[in-house]
């Protein structure tokens, strides 16, 4: 496999004469993430690690800017043709790592493959097809008006259709997506991105080299080689940076933020994230949770600011809703409502002055300080006489319990794959329906068909201002109803040596655009 890639890269180097780059790419970057990509087939899994790989070795049609806008990449421009159709103009003269040239046929190949992928097909469900107009023009068609068309198009990283078509020597289909077992695409890669993969030893290291024929000659990036080492242990990752073993690390654990800030060679960047951490209150298991007053009492009893300050050490933004700032559904007027007296009063009104006992479960290695947060929430609930029987579990054991709705209150963190508010509601507060898959992670069994209908309506509203108003109303009603207990949006943190200019390439989605990275 190593040989294969090496041979491939070797033949490529011979085939293509070096072209002048925007900047001389000579610097080497050593970096450490908490994990390395599980596969080279970016359609095999939808995860943070795979998206990071996608942005290094492929290019999307368009990508998010740091203020959640869009910037053109392989698509030069786009225009709405009618309610259901968006026409894209493809950049000309873009080369894949294999030397093939990018055309609309490659986009179609990619689109069809995404529709096949177990992880991506849900995101591409609203799309009914793709029309090729000519080599550099194509249209994406949705079955009904879809306001998130561009959001979704950021997931289209065109594949090299010639490279991924046909059969391998032992007769396997090169385009196959395999969740388990090796496929051609999981070990070989040809994208349009700034880096090619030159060596990969799973769990140990991945090496990338700058692609000589990279189309974006205006990119300021001057990194010629990247060595990615997965370092799972937080302490070791931070030590690797402080001792100079690596130049760039992510994520940075909250306990070490100060240590890096105080280091004279360190450069720490933090950002308020978009992953909401919350607790569901299971109405099916606990009669009292059906009463909105009890739910509100709980909402009043939780001190989000305290958790963010004390447990998260300021490494979180206290939340009173799901949508983070910048999302269409973000409702400015909603703020944490910590007030114990009010909470006690509500419990009294609801007839539960003496409280009751519930069970609670949370993971202990999935989110930052997840078990400590759960302990704090349990302690806060004790003040309104709700006795909590808390159990924390490693994530491998937690999720099966979550699927069984095994406790009365369960913790979950959610990041919207579409970078849009509606995704939160669809998975976390929609009336659970096994057939349609709605409310798949709604462990509270909260169900309000009116709110669901409002979200559905917003999902076909292409006037973005109107849509935002609808989604903000949804947040307001969920807040009034205390449908769940929001805690905070987990912050993101990266750290690098001083000479590695990471700020410009970072974003809240946590896929650094390393192609544009500058090292001084």
């Amino acid at each position: 496999m190593k040989k294969l890639i090496a041979a491939f890269v070797g033949s490529m180097a011979l085939a293509s004469a070096p072209v002048a780059l925007g900047a001389e790419a000579t610097k080497e970057l050593k970096m450490a993430y908490d994990a390395d990509p599980v596969t080279l087939d970016i359609h095999e899994q939808l995860s943070g690690g795979i998206l990071q790989l996608s942005h290094m070795t492929f290019d999307p049609l368009l990508r998010w800017t740091s203020d959640l806008g869009f910037e053109p990449r392989l698509a030069e421009s786009w225009e709405r043709v009618d309610e259901n159709t968006m026409r894209f103009k493809l950049r000309e003269g873009v080369k894949f790592h294999s030397g093939n040239e990018l055309t609309a046929a490659d986009v179609k190949f990619t689109f069809d493959r995404l529709k096949q992928s177990q992880d991506f097909k849900a995101i591409f469900k609203p799309f009914s097809g793709i029309n090729i107009i000519d080599d550099y023009t194509f249209e994406l068609v949705t079955s009904e008006p879809y306001p998130l068309l561009l959001n979704t198009a950021t997931y289209i990283f065109p594949f090299d259709s010639k490279f991924y078509s046909g059969q391998t020597q032992d007769g396997k289909d090169k385009s196959a997506i395999l969740k388990h077992g090796n496929s051609f695409a999981s070990e070989n890669l040809s994208g349009t991105g700034p880096y090619t993969v030159t060596e990969r030893k799973q769990g140990v290291r991945v090496e990338f080299e700058r692609f000589d024929d990279y189309w974006d000659t205006e990119s300021p990036g001057n990194v010629g080689k990247i060595v990615l080492t997965p370092i799972k242990e937080n302490n070791t990752r931070v030590s690797a940076l402080l001792s100079g073993g690596v130049d760039f690390i992510a994520p940075v654990p909250p306990n070490d933020l100060e240590r890096i800030r105080n280091d004279k060679n360190g450069n720490l960047v933090t950002m308020s994230g978009t992953r909401i951490i919350l607790f569901h209150m299971n109405q099916e298991r606990v009669e009292a949770f059906k009463n909105p007053k009890v739910r509100q009492a709980i909402a009043y009893a939780i001190n989000q600011e305290g958790i963010a300050a004390k447990i998260m050490k300021g490494f979180a933004t206290p939340a009173a809703q799901m949508s983070p700032e910048g999302y269409q559904g973000y409702n400015e007027s909603l703020t944490p409502r910590f007030d114990v007296a009010k909470a006690q009063e509500l419990m009294k009104e609801a007839g539960y002055e003496d409280g009751f006992t519930i069970t609670m479960m949370a993971p202990n290695n999935r989110y930052v300080n997840d078990d400590k947060i759960a302990q704090a929430v349990a302690a806060m609930l004790a003040r309104i006489n709700i006795k909590v029987d808390l159990k924390t579990l490693p994530k491998a054991q937690y999720w099966p319990e979550y699927d069984n709705r095994a406790a009365d209150m369960m913790m979950i963190g959610w990041h919207a794959d579409t970078e849009d508010s509606a995704n939160f509601y669809e998975f976390l507060t929609f009336c659970p329906d096994a057939d349609s898959g709605a409310g798949q992670y709604n462990a509270g069994n909260y169900c309000n068909p009116e709110i669901d209908a409002l979200v559905q309506k917003a999902n076909v509203e292409t006037d973005l201002d109107k849509r935002a108003a609808m989604l903000q109303e949804v947040e307001q009603r969920l807040y009034d109803d205390a449908a769940f207990v929001p805690l905070h949006w987990q912050d993101l943190a990266w750290a690098a040596k001083k000479n590695v200019k990471i700020e410009p390439v970072l974003n809240v989605m946590n896929f650094p655009y390393l192609g544009d990275l500058v090292i001084e």
Binding site: L46, N235, G245, A396, D417, Y441
Partner: protein
């Protein structure tokens, strides 16, 4: 001899059988492997289809029989995460662990024997007391703490300013207690020498050796005090025995008595303990490897657990079980060579 080996091999099979049954019985408690294989937003239907494909929906007994049938043909299944046969994955990771254990063992052997012998011959010397004191401290510090302290001191470096730096002696003391750092704190480095098969060695290059230093030292730190104390105690006992007194009376040189006659008998229990400890050390590498991101089987095993990579977990446990049985057998054989009065079980008297 042959009967002994046959007995041991059948024991090994029994051990592996028991391990595989236990591993299979607890796999439900290890979590759902699907969680690591698919994104959060994948529907329950899709998950069910993958489970069906992997055979995870079959009754436990059916799954076990399928596994056992393949295992008898030397196939322990495919790792979910690596998408490769589990034995291949273990073979790729094992050399790193073995090199770490070898590194630690070398440190232990070359330090514990001279120190232990010295402490036995000169129990009253201040140096002996110093070594015994340090070893008590060493034995009571957990390995990950040792590792973190070592990283801080020798990788990152510490600047001390406890003393007034405007005085000559203060500056000297500050410099004395400060460390430079610079030793690698993670991984095995870029320059590995390919030996054979999956064995890539770090013993033949400068950077490879540098990367070995801290992990080996921290792994050795747990066992070293134990061996020093053991050798000292045994040696002291042997030095009291009649034949040593006789040798002294006969006028043999102290070196000959101590290192030829006494040491040989001292080493008997040390070898027994040592063999068992090497097996335990393979288990201890889990901690050391995690702290140093050392790409060996310990780290691999820990990650397999967090990912619920059940086939890999089962295979690892079986391989470790095998290592235990093999080292114990070897220890018994060596014991027989060093001390001819010992009879191996199964051997006619």
């Amino acid at each position: 001899m042959l009967a002994f080996l046959v007995q041991r091999i059948s024991q090994a099979f029994l051990v592996m059988f028991v391990i595989s049954v236990i591993a299979f019985a607890i796999q439900d408690g290890l979590g759902d492997p699907l969680q690591e294989m698919v994104g959060m937003s994948v529907s329950e239907e899709e998950r069910e289809a993958i489970r069906e494909e992997l055979g995870l929906n079959d009754p436990m007994v059916v799954q076990y029989l399928r596994f056992a049938g393949n295992a008898l043909q030397g196939d322990l299944g495919n790792s979910y995460f690596y998408s490769k046969p589990t034995l291949e994955v273990i073979a790729e990771h094992l050399p790193a662990t073995l090199e770490l254990v070898i590194g630690a063992s070398l440190i232990i052997v070359f330090l514990s024997v001279p120190i232990g012998v010295y402490a036995a011959i000169r129990p009253q010397a201040w140096l002996s007391k110093f070594f015994m004191g340090v070893s008590t401290v060493g034995i009571s510090i957990p390995v990950f703490l040792t590792a973190i302290v070592l990283i801080q001191l020798f990788s990152i470096g510490v600047t001390v300013n406890w003393f007034p730096s405007d005085t000559g002696w203060g500056q000297w003391l500050n410099d004395f207690f400060s460390t430079e750092g610079g030793l690698p704190s993670y991984g095995r480095g870029d320059e590995l020498t390919h030996l054979f098969g999956t064995w890539e060695s770090g013993f033949f290059t400068g950077t490879g050796l540098m990367h070995l230093v801290l992990p080996s030292v921290s792994l050795a730190s747990i066992m070293l005090p134990l061996f020093i104390r053991l050798i000292r105690a045994e040696m002291m006992e042997v030095l009291q025995s009649d034949y040593v007194r006789y040798a002294r009376a006969k006028g043999l040189s102290a070196g000959r008595i101590n290192f030829l006659h006494a040491l040989k008998n001292t080493m008997l229990p040390v070898i027994t303990v040592g063999g068992v400890q090497i097996g335990i050390m393979v288990a201890y590498t889990i901690l050391t490897e995690t702290v140093f991101q050392w790409p060996g089987v310990g780290l691999m095993f820990l990650e397999a657990i967090t990912r619920s990579d059940i086939p890999l977990i089962v295979a690892y446990l079986m391989v470790v079980g095998l290592i235990f049985v093999v080292t114990n057998t070897l220890v018994d054989l060596i014991y027989g060579l060093v001390n001819p009065t010992v009879k191996l079980t199964g051997k006619k008297a």
